[in-house]
Amino acid sequence: MKFANVMATGGEWLRGEGPHHQIVISSRVRLARNVRDRAFPGWAKKAERIMVLEQIKPRIEELPEMQDSFSELLQDLSALEKQVLVERHLISREHAAKSVGSAVIMNRRQTLSIMVNEEDHLRMQSIRSGLQLKSAFKLVDKVDSTLESKLDFAYDPHLGYLTACPTNVGTGMRASAMLHLPGLVLSELINQVIQAVNKIGLAVRGLYGEGTEAMGNLFQISNQTTLGEKEEEIISRLSKVIETIIEKEHDARQMLIQRKSNTLWDQIGRAYGILTFAHAMTSKEALNLLSIMKLGVDLGAFPEDRRLPIDELFIETQPAHLQKSSQQKLNAEERDQLRAQIIRERLKLFPKPDIIKVARESSNGASSAPSKNE
């Protein structure tokens, strides 16, 4: 499969389906594995990294799950192509910085991607839309079982799977979900939630993982620990916490409709106005405004059939996607112009926000809705 096909097919998780898809954008589970008696990629010399790559890559390509796969050496991908894969969460930012001795292999549906020689020899991840951590784990676990019959993984009876970083040792598993939480952000409850989640040993991160900013009201929640707990236990603990956060987000939205409706309509109206008429827009601004539009669709201020264009804009307006689809390298100013243009065109026939409908549909919020349109 060629890179053009990767660009053309959106990837299953971008379609916005699955349980709780309004709030849970995607679920991911990754397993870290290493080959026994070989230096980890960060410490190995180039020749050893290439040797490990040549040992592992054919084993991955022959997996039944990887028929008609996309398989590339990192040095054969352009910086822009790598960035597209990062924006789709198919490779990590760290992996995008790699070159000779590293590779990425993924299936056609883009539900399974395997990085060779990232921080560990193997980083296998499954990504699904909505809250589907269990099925994501099932897929990646199956792939792991097939691979371990052909490769001798570094494993210790007491410490489990051995990884380059001691924070991953044991299961080598990181399960995470990306949540869209505009209600909790607007009602200023988000920090409370983050602190509570941190206290119970789970991590909250921004859009692109460790050390990144939370943009577009998107947050990643994942397990922090990997040793002393079974994979299934970690996943069910995480799922329960996520379900609680989903409830809190719904509560926060109801509270906004009932008590802070003017702020809410103001936000939605502004997002609509700016996105419809702006001629220059950074990706950060676009994400933040699109997030409010998405909230608007969730609340019924925009018709349900307008959900897909908004969801698609989230990814299409990211810097690398923008440049890749326009077939040229653009400077920041040109990108901001093109981004605004794409959004304007997509929103041309978009109806104005219908806030009366929201107020009517909200169980007891009818009296709190503003009487006039914005």
Binding site: N34, R36, D37, R38, A39, F40, G42, W43, A97, E119, D141, D144, S145, E148, S149, D152, F153, A154, Y155, D156, P157, H158, L159, G160, Y161, L162, A164, C165, P166, T167, V169, G170, T171, M173, I194, Q195, N198, G201, V204, G206, E210, G211, T212, E213, T225, T226, L227, G228, E229, K230, E231
Partner: protein, 163 residues
């Protein structure tokens, strides 16, 4: 952006270190940056930030000159990068890693997935233990016929284990 250490306050200090061509970024709030001595870059270990306070000190317990016989990694390397060199480093630096892992994780013993290979080795070991016990019993009871058969089975199993 939140501080990577306390995860509560906004980060105001953005640190980028380049070690052996690898870029590591850390974001800290004012209080944590002071506590970690980031203002004084000479007294600062990345391992502390990535793995928790005291990580670098912990790993030095085994003696600062210790070196992994398989990959040549040292504690100093760990202190710098917060990563290990190869799977054998877990044996080489076991002493320091022990308390580090305890502080970092829910438990100190892996209870999750077993690779088939390891699973099979466990089974074979179990069978070996049973056979050896039975052999001792048979010898004690002067049941030489059974003992001979058990000895053959043990020999065969030893062959399988060596594989």
């Amino acid at each position: 952006m939140l501080c990577d250490v306390c995860k509560c306050n906004d980060a105001t200090v953005f640190l980028t270190q380049i070690l052996e061509g690898k870029m590591q970024k850390v974001n800290l709030c004012d209080a944590c940056s002071k506590e970690k001595g980031v203002q004084d870059p000479t007294g600062f270990a990345l391992a502390d930030l990535l793995l928790g306070i005291g990580a670098a000190e912990e790993i030095e317990k085994g003696g600062p000159t210790q070196r992994c016989p398989v990959c040549g990694f040292t504690q100093a390397d760990f202190k710098k990068t917060g990563r290990l060199g190869c799977s054998s480093c877990y044996v080489t630096f076991a002493e320091g890693l022990g308390s580090l892992l305890k502080a970092m994780h829910k438990g100190t013993e892996h209870v999750g997935k077993l690779p088939q290979r390891a699973h099979r080795a466990l089974e074979l070991n179990d069978r070996m233990r049973n056979l050896t016990e039975n052999l001792q019993k048979a010898v004690a009871e002067e049941n030489y016929e059974t003992a001979a058969s058990l000895r053959d089975q043990i020999k065969q199993l030893e062959g399988e284990l060596a594989n």
